[in-house]
């Protein structure tokens, strides 16, 4: 029984190729004689086949390229001083530690490349913009003005300071 338990614990390692030749041979020999362990190995193979068959590719949302494109285009060009700093630094780095320290110091003095922080979409604050939208939407010919007034009123009735 304990041999079965030991074998069953090793079945996954066996399939993943983690076992030595000797251990692999032992497992295979036992499995060929033990119906229960053979069944567990078959079960493991079936589950892996299930995962392989049913692991699913999801479609990403459309339009992700727009964000990438715009973010790339929005990046400001690096200052000339920074590009010069990099050009100086690159060959000096190969010369050794002492020279590299000098180069790092030179690089720091010149400046670091300016980068736009990565921007992702965040939830807008639920205040003026939403109210503005609700007020606008409620004035349309086909809109329900009753609802827009109540929405606008309820959202404004929070002790607003009149500015």
């Amino acid at each position: 029984m304990s041999k079965c338990r030991k074998t069953q614990d090793m079945l996954s390692h066996h399939r993943t190729g983690l076992l030595t030749e000797r251990r692999r041979a032992e497992i295979e020999a036992h499995v060929s004689e033990c119906a229960e362990c053979a069944r567990e190995l078959e079960l493991l193979d079936s589950v892996m086949a299930l995962v392989e068959d049913h692991i699913h590719h999801h479609e990403p949302p459309e339009g992700l390229w727009h964000g990438v494109h715009n973010r790339i285009k929005d990046r400001r060009p690096e200052p000339v001083a920074v590009r010069l700093g990099r050009w100086i630094w690159s060959p000096v780095r190969a010369a050794g530690a002492a020279v590299a320290v000098l180069a790092i110091a030179a690089g720091l003095y010149i400046g670091v490349p300016s980068r736009q922080p990565a921007q992702s979409m965040s939830a807008a604050p639920a205040d003026d913009y939403v109210r503005g939208h609700v007020l606008y939407a409620g004035q349309g010919n086909l809109a329900d003005r009753t609802a827009s007034l109540v929405l606008y009123t309820a959202s404004s009735d929070t002790g607003v300071r009149n500015r």
């Binding site: 949302p61 459309e62 339009g63 992700l64 727009h66 964000g67 715009n70 973010r71 285009k73 929005d74 736009q116 921007q119 992702s120 979409m121 965040s122 939830a123 807008a124 604050p125 639920a126 205040d127 003026d128 913009y129 939403v130 109210r131 503005g132 939208h133 609700v134 007020l135 606008y136 939407a137 409620g138 004035q139 349309g140 010919n141 086909l142 809109a143 329900d144 003005r145 009753t146 609802a147 827009s148 007034l149 109540v150 929405l151 606008y152 009123t153 309820a154 959202s155 404004s156 009735d157 929070t158 002790g159 607003v160 300071r161 009149n162 500015r163």
Partner: protein, 337 residues
């Protein structure tokens, strides 16, 4: 033999008559829902009326209920809501502008709208994007009404169900569905047609000391870019079925957020607003009151009925507000250059 044939002939004749009767009755009884729903929603041909209505709408954790009164005439309309503790709020809609008075904030917002679409175009847009399905008849506020469901023909925009007064083609009840699954309901509880309407009811009369703000003014893209100090561009993507409706200069009444360009799109029923202004010009937090109360409940009633997303890139901030899934909001925001 003859008797049998005769029997068959009579049976066929009866069946044919019954079928014709059903078809004919159905053909007469089924109303021209497309035209009815557009006329009812446009309200241009409806008789003057006064009414009270009850609204229910989703908020973060519970529904809110309000009672409003309406006075409608072909030239103007006023909706009054005693839903504020500081006195009645109202909105007066006239052909070219509207006045919205919120006693709690001591502000009257004047909005001048200029639509790039005529009412007729809006109506056709509605029918192009939504199928009007007749669901039968019902009674609302003692009136017989057609029940019509407007379901989107494509895309993810939410639809609407309306109960329309058969005689006067007024919307007596409506249920607006949200893309998040919530529902907003309006039901007329009493209505009276034909009584003369005092035009003085449509004259804006806020309390003394009320501040007046021009909340919305039509503008061209060039004017908007000049006023806001950043190039205003239209999104390169809007969901299928939406058409551009207007370009306005938006001044937030609360005063917490900077002025923005507001570019709006409609599919006949739902609206998308794209706000653009300079990056770094942030709204002052807490200025309009906390967004949640002590128990964490959202104070802004809009929580359940719109989605919004903000993106900042370069020198511009873009805020999109619409009742659409977050992925669509993102796509619109990111398509603004």
């Amino acid at each position: 033999m003859i008797g049998r044939s005769l029997g068959w002939m009579i049976a066929i004749l009866l069946l044919a008559t019954a079928a014709w009767g059903v078809w004919h009755t159905w053909g007469i009884a089924r109303p021209p829902v497309d035209a009815i729903v557009v006329r009812a929603l446009l309200r241009e041909e409806s008789k003057p009326y006064t009414a009270t209505a009850c609204l229910t709408m989703p908020e973060a954790k519970k529904k809110i209920k309000s009672t409003v009164s309406l006075i409608h005439s072909p030239e103007a309309e006023i909706v009054t809501c005693p839903c504020s503790g500081n006195g009645a709020a109202w909105t007066i809609k006239k052909p070219d502008c509207s006045y919205t008075y919120i006693p709690a904030s001591g502000v009257m917002v004047i909005s001048r709208y200029s639509s790039l679409l005529t009412a007729d175009q809006r109506g056709r847009l509605l029918l192009a994007n939504y199928g009007a399905e007749y669901k039968g008849k019902s009674r609302v506020a003692g009136r017989e009404a057609y029940v019509i469901d407007l379901a989107p023909r494509h895309g993810t925009s939410p639809g609407k169900k309306v109960w329309i007064d058969i005689q006067n083609e007024t919307v007596l009840r409506s249920v607006d569905r949200s893309s998040t699954g919530g529902e907003r309901g309006m039901e007329i509880t009493s209505i009276s047609y034909g009584a003369p309407v005092d035009r003085a009811a449509f004259t804006p009369r806020p309390k003394a000391g009320t501040k007046t703000i021009i909340g919305c003014e039509p503008s061209s893209l060039a004017e908007l870019s000049h006023k806001i100090g950043v190039t205003i561009t239209e999104p390169r993507y809007v969901p299928s079925g939406y058409a551009i409706e207007g370009r306005h200069f938006f001044t937030p009444p609360c005063g917490c957020c900077p002025s923005s360009a507001q570019i709006t799109y409609t599919d006949g029923l739902n609206t998308i607003s794209v706000f653009e202004n300079r990056a770094g010009s942030e709204c002052k937090s807490g200025c309009c009151g906390p967004e949640t109360d002590k128990s964490g409940r959202c104070r802004v009633a809009c929580c359940g009925v719109t989605g919004s997303g903000r993106i900042t890139r370069g020198n511009k901030k873009v805020v999109v507000v619409a009742d659409l899934p977050a992925s669509e909001i993102r796509k619109i925001a990111e398509s603004v250059e």
